[in-house]
Symmetry: C2
């Protein structure tokens, strides 16, 4: 493996020319960017740790680089913030080959370019153990156009984007050693979702700009955890209607084969990176207009916030406690 | 150890109320801060990895927390940026006790409060190996008041703050198992410098606001490395005058005992976190005024930039190549 300066030079070459708002990119003591006029700075950091969040056996280096940024973009999306820049901090053991390093960087900067979150800086160090990839994403949002977890009110309806359980099913398929060529389209989509999650940036920004939701959170640890967190932050209770939860067809297929409950996969399977919104009734139409402007994306009503405390699952009219989400700590 | 949500709640309590410019602190999908009027956003990230940058045997948890932020503040200082916020991303193995976690957080947030870099967000995850502490510091600087590495010109004089080699001597003393109570004041100061480096934030900001330097870099990997990097970025050569390099008296004392060259310690010993400035002759007085406004801090002329390429050490009139700095990758 090359030294630190050589590796930084490689990243710099691959990252290419940054957009105009980057005053100073990779290579100095710090990066400098221009804030958007009258906007707030939105900051988030999230890491992928080898053996905890990924293994080299199951995920390609390029997918790892993509995912390390995508999980951060998902946090920006949940705030309604437009991506502005990213930082990449890598701790690498000596057994990572240069070609793998290049692939990781490639996965990262390709998504960074697509998302408008140019890589402006970072850090490289040795690791005596796992690969640790720490990413900071910087976004931009107007102060009165920000989405938070805490804005939900009793009576708001809960909507989730896309379909759930796909990433968890994808991971299960990879772990079972499924041959990719033998997978049907739905199962294959699950593997793709696990490896290269899409952050719902356009959706989050559009909903926020139209003030179409009162609260939002990203679904990183399953729908149940997201509902819990949103309800706690909003100081409300919540009910999820079991029959309305949109289970990804690939997840349903995997669950049928594995004799598992597909709903459990949707509620507790991690890494879907969809968005959960609380929407007041008077903003329902506004919200659906925002979703239509968000590209090829659906949103499904899955429940509501209520004044009575607690988070509940409504199964055919019987309420049971909504279990916790995926625990990764 | 507690779960993720409980640990975040502990950090949140300890971090206390953030200053007015923090719109949204710990607890949502991302943090939100207000940029300073007409200022640019300055971003840096740096990590401490167990066994690479610290060991639990030699450094207290509180010192580790302090240092993880200080090394980032030092990068902001080198840009002349005023600290504005910080993010803390922790990967922790299961054998870290709750009391140690609390101490680490305490060291971090105490410095964050002093430096005006409130902890606004972060991430917690398990590590299957070392403790990895990744910090992002966010600063603020006027566009025409920024310091970079690349602004140096032939003829500029090089000045370094403080005295060098202290941190390396402090580490050597700790490694040798020195009893702290038995250390003299100079040696003790070296241990303190290693454990709890001061970032020269006030100095960097003052010099930048007065436009008193043409370039700056922080001395994290020894003076030699800093001079190399500044000269390369400025497309100049550089000469360091060996007899002018300010060696910390504790480093000189350690070197004498260990039969080492004290100059080598100052040139190649890492972690001093002083600042190196390139100053044009017409800004010399302006620069010294800035240093006088930077509190109890000295600056010493150690050499100059020149048109002829390369980085050189001038020993009593004989030029030899300036060796590399501390290699930690």
């Amino acid at each position: 493996m090359l030294g630190e300066h050589e590796l930084i030079a490689r990243i710099r070459r691959r990252a290419g020319s940054p957009p105009a708002w980057v005053t100073l990119g990779i290579g100095d003591d710090a990066a400098v960017i221009e804030p958007e006029r009258s906007a707030r700075i939105v900051l988030t950091t999230d890491s992928l740790v080898e053996q905890i969040h990924f293994t080299r056996q199951l995920t390609s280096w390029r997918a790892i680089g993509h995912k390390a940024l995508a999980v951060n973009l998902s946090d920006l999306a949940a705030m309604g913030a437009a991506p502005r820049a990213s930082l990449l901090s890598l701790a690498l053991p000596t057994d990572v080959a240069l070609a793998d390093f290049d692939e990781l960087v490639e996965g990262f900067v390709t998504l960074a370019g697509q998302a408008g979150a140019p890589l402006v800086g970072g850090n490289l160090t040795r690791s005596p153990g796992p690969v640790v990839i720490d990413v900071t994403a910087v976004g931009s949002a107007r102060p009165r156009r920000l989405l938070t977890r805490s804005g939900g009110r009793p009576g708001d309806e809960l909507f989730v984007t896309g379909q759930l359980g796909a990433a968890a099913a994808g991971l299960a398929l990879l772990r079972a050693g499924a041959a990719r060529a033998a997978l049907d389209a739905d199962a294959s989509a699950c593997v793709c979702r696990f490896e290269r999650p899409d952050a719902r940036v356009r959706c989050g920004v559009t909903v926020a700009r139209r003030r179409a939701a009162s609260a939002a959170i990203d679904v990183s640890d399953g729908l149940a955890d997201a509902v819990h967190q949103l309800a706690i932050a909003s100081k409300t209770g919540a009910v999820v209607d079991a029959s309305d939860v949109p289970v990804h067809p690939g997840a349903a297929g995997w669950a049928a084969n594995a004799k598992q409950d597909p709903l459990a996969l949707a509620l507790s399977g991690g890494e879907d990176y969809e968005l959960l919104f609380a929407v007041s009734r008077r903003h329902r139409r506004n919200f659906f207009s925002a979703i239509r402007q968000s590209g090829d994306l659906t949103a499904t009503r899955v429940g509501r916030l209520q004044a009575e405390p607690g988070a509940w699952l409504n199964r055919d009219g019987r309420l049971e406690p909504l279990g916790p989400g995926f625990v990764h700590f």
